[in-house]
């Protein structure tokens, strides 16, 4: 029983990290079709923000909370710059965006290495996140609960933005029918830019969350980015609901496989499961009907 609880929690915890990273991709990859490999480096930028902030604010709790909006803004800005300089001329070539952003990722990694040095750095946990709470005799780390809460908050926030705000309406309108949106007076250029800002900013928040899990180094994000893309692929393109289900399903699956086998084999098994799943449902968990034939 205890094992079951702790493993389910481990799965939810892995899932929440995946979800936090994949949410941004739901926008940039799912809605805009850009395969942004530099998303991992935006995560890294968010994590380094948390690292730098602890020198500005000496209280680790305050610095962590403040680094959330700062990292969001910073990563968002990086995304906007990327969109405005390179990606906007490539919306008709989604595969090429993968290679371009891979180049961007290489450069950002090396910048981090040259600025912060090759050795990894650490963000100590604030007092309210160190330790654990007991749940049916199982110790649940507070830092993991924090990430779980953060990812759910991000899901709710993003859904509200998309459904309730005029920006959200503009984003959805642009995605569904760009020419019509333009005719209706929506500036699709600035909408694209805002979509990218949101999507990249979410990566920054994921970075702050990850600073509480592992160490911060130049290659922090690359370890996660493929997994995050798989979440979007499995979830169904452009769908927040799908991404939530997929992230937690993959997290639980990985925790389950890992408990029974080993971490290496679990990763391979999850991949095999994804390939088989896509044979059955190539459109992902949540299917959207569109008129386009392509």
């Amino acid at each position: 029983m205890e094992t079951l609880i702790s493993q389910v929690f481990a799965g939810l915890s892995v899932g929440s990290i995946l979800l936090l990273i994949a949410l941004g991709l739901v926008l940039t990859f799912g809605q805009m079709g850009v395969i942004n490999m530099a998303q991992g480096e935006f995560i890294m930028a968010g994590a380094y923000t948390a690292y730098v902030m602890q020198f500005v604010f000496t209280n680790p709790g305050v610095s962590l909370l403040i680094s959330l909006p700062v990292a969001f803004a910073l990563a968002g800005l990086l995304g906007v710059v990327l969109e405005a300089t390179l990606l906007r001329r490539m919306y008709d070539r989604p595969l090429d965006t993968l290679l371009v952003t891979w180049g961007v990722a290489l450069i950002l990694q090396q910048v981090a290495r040259d600025v912060f040095g090759a050795p990894n750095v650490d963000v100590p946990a604030p007092s309210f996140l160190s330790g654990s709470v007991s749940f049916f005799g199982v110790a649940l780390p507070l830092s993991r609960l924090f990430i779980l809460a953060l990812s759910l908050a991000a899901v709710i926030g993003l859904t509200l933005v998309l459904v309730r705000t005029s920006l959200g309406r503009r984003i959805r309108a642009t995605v569904q029918n760009r020419p019509l949106a333009e005719t209706s007076g929506i500036s699709t250029r600035s909408t694209d830019r805002m979509t990218f800002f949101l999507g990249s900013g979410l990566a920054g928040i994921a970075g702050v969350a990850l600073s509480q899990v592992g160490s911060i180094g130049p290659t922090l994000g690359t370890n996660y980015v493929i997994d995050a893309f798989l979440v979007v692929v499995v979830g169904g393109i452009g769908q927040i609901k799908g991404a939530v289900i997929a992230a937690f399903a993959l997290g639980l699956l990985r925790a389950g496989f890992e408990y029974e086998t080993s971490a290496s084999i679990a990763k391979v098994l999850v991949f095999v499961a994804i390939v088989i799943f896509l044979q059955v449902r190539p459109q992902g968990i949540v299917n959207v009907r569109t008129r386009s034939l392509a």
Partner: protein, 419 residues
């Protein structure tokens, strides 16, 4: 048409190499084959300098660690040159970047030997990089000085191993745990050669000494998701954890370890890949009080070490720390110098001939080269991570342990290097 013609021409050209077994040598060992066919050294020592090569990863994931080794090698070379060089010749150092990839290590080693004609190469870190370079050094009959503790079970005539082999680090750590009354262990490691081999040895030791192995887990290199493994560790309730994780994984592991409430008191972790350099990145409050097994700590209280640490900090900055692999690299250059001076020559055969019994008063204590297996004697230490992030000696083997890379002197280890 042209292709066809050239194809024939090309094939005609190719049919001239020797087949294995045609030449006099039997081909049973790389070195003997090489000596007869390819091992023509181009090392030129006629001038006032002698070339040596440093081969460390200056880019890629291993740069974190290997840059420090590069720094201490450079310091040793500068010191030697300032003191008059080796056999009256100044050292001319050629540095190459291994880029954290075994293939690159092999390629650059070949470049250093064949194109730059260096007398010896210093460097390498991962087992993969050493295994990749080994055939190059044997094939060209050149010399590599390898400065990192490793998994043993190797003794090439063309490599000098100045880091610890298993019986100078892992076995003493197990002896220490046994002394402390540890009855059961949980093994956690990164998925590569060193941890897997180390754990094989640990399991053999445990079987012979009545210890129970409660679990054995590996994660892919660089992995940072440890919820499941820490859950397994916690529920296994072993007396101690033996940690052979590498690099970034340590951070995630120790953070997760601490956050579920495990402490050095409740379940101590003995690590073999965490040195002074790594503590900062892991976060001091996550590892303080945990144990590490090495042969050198910055805090060793001898005049030689004080001089070494001061020189290093003066050269590279007061905030830098010294660690075991750095010290082993520094020592390796001085050992080569001592061998060359004993042989009064720089060629591979003379160095190999002179190696046995060469000693050096190293920061870790006096070390002696074993001419048979090319390892050096080293004192084993167990250290505890103190509040300043440095390691403080908790236990010492007292005297240097003779290297035994194949563990032939340990009855329980029979059959490990199955033959």
């Amino acid at each position: 048409m042209a292709v066809a013609t050239l194809l024939t021409a090309g094939l005609a050209l190719t049919a001239c190499g020797s087949k294995v077994g045609e030449s006099a040598s039997s081909g049973s060992a790389g070195a003997t084959v090489a000596a007869t066919s390819a091992g023509k050294s181009c090392v030129d020592t006629s001038g006032s300098t002698v070339k040596i090569g440093f081969l460390n990863s200056l880019s890629g994931t291993m740069a974190i660690s290997e840059k420090t080794v590069h720094d201490s090698l450079q310091m040793a070379a500068d010191e030697i040159n300032a003191a008059g060089g080796v056999n009256g010749k100044q050292l001319d150092v050629i540095s190459e970047d291994g880029a954290s990839e075994p293939t690159t290590f092999a390629e650059k080693a070949q470049k250093l030997i064949q194109a730059d004609c260096v007398a010896a190469v210093f460097g390498g870190w991962t087992s993969a990089s050493r295994k990749a370079m080994l055939p190059v050094f044997e094939g060209n009959n050149s010399l590599l000085f390898y400065p990192v503790q490793y998994e043993g079970l190797e003794a090439s005539k063309n490599i000098f191993y100045t880091g610890a082999t298993t019986n100078q680090q892992i076995v003493p750590a197990l002896d220490y745990l046994k002394e402390m009354g540890v009855k059961s262990l949980f093994l956690v490691g990164s998925d590569y050669v060193f941890p897997r081999t180390a754990n094989k040895i640990i399991k053999a030791y445990a079987a012979a000494n009545g210890m129970e192995i409660k679990g054995e887990e590996y994660t892919p290199l660089g992995d940072t998701e440890f919820s499941t493994i820490v859950n397994k560790v916690q529920s296994a309730d072993a007396d101690a954890v033996f940690n052979t994780l590498n690099g970034d994984s340590n951070v995630a592991f120790f953070k997760q370890y601490k956050s579920v409430g495990l402490t050095p008191e409740s379940m101590p972790v003995v690590s073999v890949s965490i040195a002074e350099e790594e503590v900062g990145g892991i976060g001091l409050d996550n590892v303080q009080g945990q144990l590490a097994a090495w042969n050198y700590f910055e805090t060793i209280d001898t005049p030689t070490n004080k001089k070494f640490v001061e020189a290093f900090k003066a050269k590279y900055g007061q905030d830098r720390v010294t660690s075991d692999p750095m010290e082993a690299a520094y020592t390796s250059l001085y050992l080569w110098k001592a061998m060359a001076e004993k042989a009064k020559a720089f060629d591979t055969a003379s160095i190999q001939g002179a190696a046995d019994g060469v000693t050096f008063d190293a920061p870790e204590g006096t070390v002696t080269v074993d001419g048979e297996n090319h390892h050096i004697s080293k004192t084993a230490l167990i250290g505890k991570i103190g509040p300043d992030g440095l390691l403080y000696t908790e236990w010492s083997s007292g005297q240097p342990i003779e290297p035994d890379p194949f563990l032939t002197g340990y009855p329980w280890a029979q059959g490990l290097a199955s033959n």
